[in-house]
């Protein structure tokens, strides 16, 4: 057997192994994080977006199925669940501040969630998207497992909803700082809450890495808006749209 054949066999073998894809995923993330820090933490240089592009580039270039990649990287994906549960701790540590702002949290939660849904609806109408696609877009402001569940319930297409939801998270994480600086909101609890409300987990991950208080309020909005949106979307569809 020649060396080249040997190498090819190793390559074929590696593709089926979690070890390879875990290394690639963490490596790509470290590159993204490095570039992010190099850019003086410019939010447009989002480490998640960079690592996604690097890995997608590899998969497309070598013609590898996403399923094969995901099968290897699913250990990282699995940790999303425990990480979500773990968000209870920072919220608990700030429970006094949460109680103090309970009224603004409740009002912003309800009105903000309605904003998110109606703005999506009217924008989609303006862009002349078809009805099933609009339904698939409506729950995009809440975390992917919830948005997919809602989408299924209201006859959207869950896989499309997943794509739109994750994209929303990345867009929110990348643009939030600019938008919030532009409208001069300095209140960290308001900044964080708005990020979690509009761009769920990926937004929260970013808020966490920048400011503890903002991160906590983002996590709070992520959990609460998930509950609220899953209740109000079916109601809106039944009675209004």
């Amino acid at each position: 057997m020649t060396n080249l054949e040997n190498l090819y066999e190793i390559w074929v073998y590696l593709q089926t192994e979690p070890l390879f894809w875990l290394t690639i995923t963490i490596g790509a993330y470290l590159i993204g994080d490095f570039l992010y820090k190099k850019s003086n933490i410019n939010p447009l240089v989002n480490p998640v977006a960079i690592s996604i592009l690097i890995i997608s580039g590899i998969l497309i270039f070598f013609n590898i199925d996403y399923e094969r990649y995901f099968n290897g990287a699913k250990f990282i994906h699995f940790l999303l669940g425990p990480a979500t549960v773990a968000l209870a701790i920072p919220i608990y540590n700030q429970i006094k501040l949460v109680k103090k702002e309970a009224l603004s949290i409740t009002i912003t939660l309800i009105i903000g969630s309605l904003f998110a849904i109606f703005i999506t609806y009217y924008l989609a109408k303006i862009f002349k998207l078809d009805d099933q696609l609009i339904l698939s877009m409506l729950p995009r402001s809440v975390t992917a497992p919830i948005s997919m569940g809602i989408s299924e319930l209201i006859n959207g297409i869950p896989s499309i909803t997943a794509i739109i939801t994750i994209t929303t998270g990345i867009v929110g994480a990348s643009l939030a700082t600019f938008v919030l600086d532009f409208i001069k909101v300095r209140d960290m609890t308001a900044r964080g809450f708005a990020i979690g409300l509009s761009s769920h987990g990926i937004g929260t991950a970013r808020a966490m890495s920048r400011n503890k208080t903002a991160g906590i309020f983002s996590a709070l909005a992520l959990a609460l808006s998930g509950v609220v949106v899953s209740i109000i979307i079916p109601i809106i569809i039944k009675f209004i749209l």
């Binding site: 990282i76 968000l87 900044r191 761009s199 987990g201 991160g215």
Partner: protein, 125 residues
């Protein structure tokens, strides 16, 4: 560390079971988060050393996991790029809705909450 991980997994497991049993749309981990939060509030009054130690290690583990939260979204994010063709000819319109919609939602809700906080602060003073 191991005990802390066990506690977190246990709460996620409870969350998943509740979600499946009551056929809720809220995902198991979010239910787990809410359960853990209420448990922590409830345990506040109990000053047993064992529980305090466990709580401390859960806090440490949670800090470690949440600081790498972004990384955990990478595998599913790759799926978005690989399946973007599902959007067919609607890609740019959909991106338009997402970008404009997200900017407006962030701006409006942040402004709203800031104003509410100020009003409530003033009333309390």
């Amino acid at each position: 560390m191991l005990r802390a991980f066990f506690v977190i997994l246990l709460f996620q497991l409870f969350g998943e079971i509740i979600q499946k049993y009551f056929l809720l749309i809220i995902p198991g981990p979010v239910i787990g988060l809410i359960l853990l939060l209420f448990t922590l509030i409830f345990l506040k009054k109990i000053k047993s050393k064992k529980i305090l130690n466990l709580k401390k290690s859960v806090v440490n583990l949670s800090n470690a996991i949440t600081s790498y939260l972004s990384l955990l979204f990478v595998p599913i994010g790759v799926g978005v790029v690989m399946h973007v063709s599902y959007l067919e000819q609607n890609l740019f319109q959909v991106l338009g809705v997402i970008i404009i919609g997200t900017i407006i939602t962030i701006a409006l809700s942040a402004k709203l909450m800031e104003i509410l906080n100020k009003i409530i602060q003033k009333k309390n003073d």
